[in-house]
Point group: C2
Chain length 352, copies 2
């Protein structure tokens, strides 16, 4: 258990063994495979299969968990109203390297507003932006968000949504040369559908802003705007030319990251999830909160260990750093999902 | 149209005519009664009928609206994902006189905490509380909320929920001598069920705090905690004795009232409702925002004009004042619902 400060992908066999142990300890296979097929819903709802997941311990942990909480009369049964599943977005549902995709969008906004803000020249986040110092930017999330609030202050939320949509329609990822919204993870799309087919309500709980995700999350993930929780900027109600509008103010409202995630969940959902899926230290408290129960629960951590198909990073990465959450996953028996070993496919096939 | 500053219940016939005109102008009867029964869902889902609504223009306005937005292929059709209905709580879904019920609960909390806060003796909201000056208290909602945040600061949210539940289980309304949760409106329970049967998602958008409502809203209204939007107090994530908890901080977070309601809707739901139901000036902006469209929408205002069965109040009431919103309803053709004339029943029958 001495993985501190060394890249975990340098010890793959050890990790694999560990992940399998963790998954098996959570899966409770003996108890759940009591003559029933592990997941009945997949038999009747073929659309919601986990076909991009390899038949490894991680998939079995998910299927056993879902079987346990949906089996009426069992002590681990959870009524549908309480089947709340929360997913981080960046690095959990879609890629986040080399820089959180929303940051790329924000940088465009800030650049466009810079001529109106000569005072930014001494701002560390702005200087990092001009220098394209992604590492510095990734560690200055709050300072960058503050620049963004200034950049789009006074804009109505409808106009802001249009700028997000326009950017998404034209921008391309530097490595994959595909639209950012293509870089969602196929196994996660299947997992979301599978959970919903089993009576779960699926939520996004992201450090990114809610409105950035809401523009595309329903089409991409089947998650409606009202189930997207994120960071936010203050907006104000105004009547302009006789029309009610909501206008963005130059002030951060809430940072839905780290310890903010359980707070965001409480504020928005009002009860505790039974499944949480994250990939970085920003998800640590959300996973702790979910893993504390009471009752059957599943805490999942995606490990980016697949340089060939996506990226490989963890303890030392500025974007999506996975360090404390990894240690806690190991110590507390959370299910670690290896992108390399547990996923058959990473991205959906490009649209023809 | 000169009703300003005079109690509107003194001119019932005039109001009735006006309400009928308003309702008919919204109902678009000619367009909607094109050979189809106005609401098909009621035929197949007998539980979701509006049987406590009299057959007046208000009921017809609701049924025509629902028929219009659910008729596939019609220009007014709205896909289910966008059928968002928002309801104020106090005075719209349950009673609010002689003092918002949550205030009664809060007063108990503040009284219990007073010995620890000698500095409150000069606080106007606290003085009004001691003097049982309900009028003064009703107009000092924010000051009272601030006392409450101090009173329950440091308490975990789970403990706080228990105090709400315990109070609701024992408290009785001074006029009706029934538990407060009995004083929900039967016609509104039917309307909520009817909307859901027609593919709507129903939300509460209240000046009260979300957690106060979430304790009982699902059982009372069929509205789950994640569809309850309200005012809020700051909470913080902590690990106490190895257990993750959320702790209440002595600070208001958000006031979901007046212009805060469209903001709360945007933050939480992320898209605009097509139906909004309120009863007071605190709902004005929510109704304006909904009524601005685009597309078919329905803005409803409940008028408390039934002293015999509930209470009669409007322009001059400290609790649930209905003044500007009434004028705007008249000017803009919103549907005004008269408790006295449009509702067959007010409260559910007492449980045996």
């Amino acid at each position: 258990m001495h993985l501190r400060r060394q890249p975990v992908w340098s010890s793959r066999p050890l990790r694999l063994i560990r992940a399998v142990c963790v998954a098996l300890s959570l899966a409770g296979c003996a108890a759940s495979h009591d003559g029933l097929p592990p997941v009945q819903a997949t038999a009747t709802r073929p659309a919601a299969t986990l076909s991009s997941w390899r038949d490894t311990a991680a998939k079995q942990a998910i299927q056993s968990f879902v079987a346990d909480v949906t089996r009426e009369g069992s002590p681990s049964f959870v009524p549908p109203a309480q089947r709340i599943a929360v997913f981080d977005n960046d690095g959990t549902l879609w890629s986040e390297q080399p820089l959180y995709f929303q940051f790329v969008f924000m940088l465009e906004q800030v650049k466009a507003a810079a001529p109106r803000h000569p005072e930014w020249k001494d701002n560390p986040a702005f200087k990092a932006l001009v220098a394209k110092d992604y590492d510095a930017l990734a560690s200055q999330q709050k300072a960058l968000l503050q620049l963004v609030t200034l950049a789009n202050s006074g804009m109505t939320v409808d106009d802001y949504h249009k700028t997000i949509g326009a950017w998404l329609a034209s921008a391309r990822h530097p490595k994959f040369n595909r639209p950012y919204t293509d870089l969602v993870y196929q196994p996660q799309l299947e997992l979301l559908a599978y959970l919903r087919a089993n009576g779960f309500k699926t939520f996004i709980v992201s450090g990114g802003t809610a409105e950035f995700m809401r523009v595309w999350a329903e089409k991409a993930y089947g998650i409606p705007p009202e189930q997207v929780i994120g960071s936010s900027q203050v907006v104000q109600y105004e009547v302009r030319n006789g029309q009610p509008v909501l206008v963005r103010e130059p002030k951060l409202d809430f940072i839905d990251d780290g310890p903010g995630k359980p707070v965001g969940i409480y504020r928005h959902i009002g009860h505790k999830p039974i499944l949480a899926f994250g990939n970085s230290d920003g998800d640590l408290q959300m996973l702790q909160y979910t893993a504390a129960g009471p009752g059957r629960h599943l805490a999942l951590l995606l490990h980016h260990d697949d340089a060939a198909r996506e990226f490989a990073y963890d303890r030392t990465s500025k974007v999506g750093k996975l360090d404390k959450a990894w240690d806690e996953a190991v110590a507390d028996g959370w299910t670690v999902v290896s992108m390399k070993n547990d996923w058959q496919t990473v991205f959906p096939a490009p649209k023809q």
